[in-house]
Symmetry: C2
Subunit: 230 residues, 2 copies
Amino acid sequence: MAGKRSGAQSRRPRGKAASPRSVREPGNEPALSLERIVATAVELLDAEGIDGLTMRRLADRLGSGAMSLYWHVENKEKVFDLALDSVLEYRVSEPAGSRDWRGEIVQMLEDWRANMLRHPWSASLLPRRALGPNILARLERLNKILSGAGVAEADLNVAIWSLWNYVIGATVTRANFDLSQEDRAAAQERLADLGERYPALARSRLLLDDDWDGAFRKGLDFLLDGLAPR
Amino acid sequence: MAGKRSGAQSRRPRGKAASPRSVREPGNEPALSLERIVATAVELLDAEGIDGLTMRRLADRLGSGAMSLYWHVENKEKVFDLALDSVLEYRVSEPAGSRDWRGEIVQMLEDWRANMLRHPWSASLLPRRALGPNILARLERLNKILSGAGVAEADLNVAIWSLWNYVIGATVTRANFDLSQEDRAAAQERLADLGERYPALARSRLLLDDDWDGAFRKGLDFLLDGLAPR
DNA sequence: GAATTGACTCGTACAATGTACGATTGGATG
DNA sequence: CATCCAATCGTACATTGTACGAGTCAATTC
């Protein structure tokens, strides 16, 4: 209960990305902007991982002082929120939803997952209350597809959450179990351990199988089977 | 690349929880132990949230110096890992797997989720490579139930991952969208926003519905429908 | 009994972090 | 010219994880 509740400062550019008025143009100093900050944050996260993002390092990359960031951004948390949503970018391809609904869903969710896996740090950011515009756009889309497919009104929300849960879970899991860069030795040792305590698990080689993409697709198919309107 | 790669220290008690030899018994100083550390960490996380856990505060609660913790625990990350697995405690009720397999799965996954929601911080710890004994026990159990139910060998791992994904995703989501303690005003404003940009979403009231338990159960049923052996 | 060992504890110190605060800048507007 | 204000940034501070090494006892060895 100590260092909280500061907020309510005073001025901030908030939302209105109208005319940045091109301050500081004499030489060619690039000047900060929310877009540049977020883009650079993503770069830095890609390069250094989630602990590599500090306000000072981010400012360095931007050629500015650390405190300058705070004009554009409330705090570090906000940078994370924005970076996450930025990675989930979604432009509707918009064939309205006529074709096969399963294909559309699969495509959108695979794209969702692929986007996140391209930036593995994004998975560790999921556990935060971030409903950026891109996530919302994807939910909106899901809604349209499913209701267009004839899913009962009463089941609609449940169906959407189920798909959401599945994608989130699969991505979080996958991003953390990427063994290939892990010591193979550790995996082997773990398996030996498993043999004693968890025989079925060891036999199934669940933890060594690495066709994540295939598994994602197959599992999604199972879920869609269950979701399909009767 | 500055403060890393220290490790390889020297001695640590590692695993052997054999005889603590009752050091420091003259007065009645309780002395540290891994169990006490983890239990207290969970208490502290429950009380103060994920940012409330610092090595110093944890040590305070234990009545010890901060650095004493490092004899029992490699670093703070390890404390998180242990706290997470501790929350997922799983004792097999062990009716071997004769009854209806769906009921068994539903019960186990609802228990899994309930345990985590009782300690909301645990959701934000999921994105880490933590396969503690309790998680493994649950996976082992899932394997047994599903293969006992007649799920094809080739589908087994996919089925397990699907269920895993679903639980993880649902828990992460739920732990972060608990609006009731959130400003209701913000939710309303958000909904108004949605009306313009995301009409279907706004109409569905997806984000205001709060029967999370029911939705979890229904979605799980859908998934199990899809998973059921043909 | 004295000396040694080794399991465990902890005080001090340091580098790194997020960010509060206030000063500064320079273009736009009067 | 003076005024203003969006934007930048240096300094400072409290807080963090943890390296390092010194301290403390019980058990063990002489």
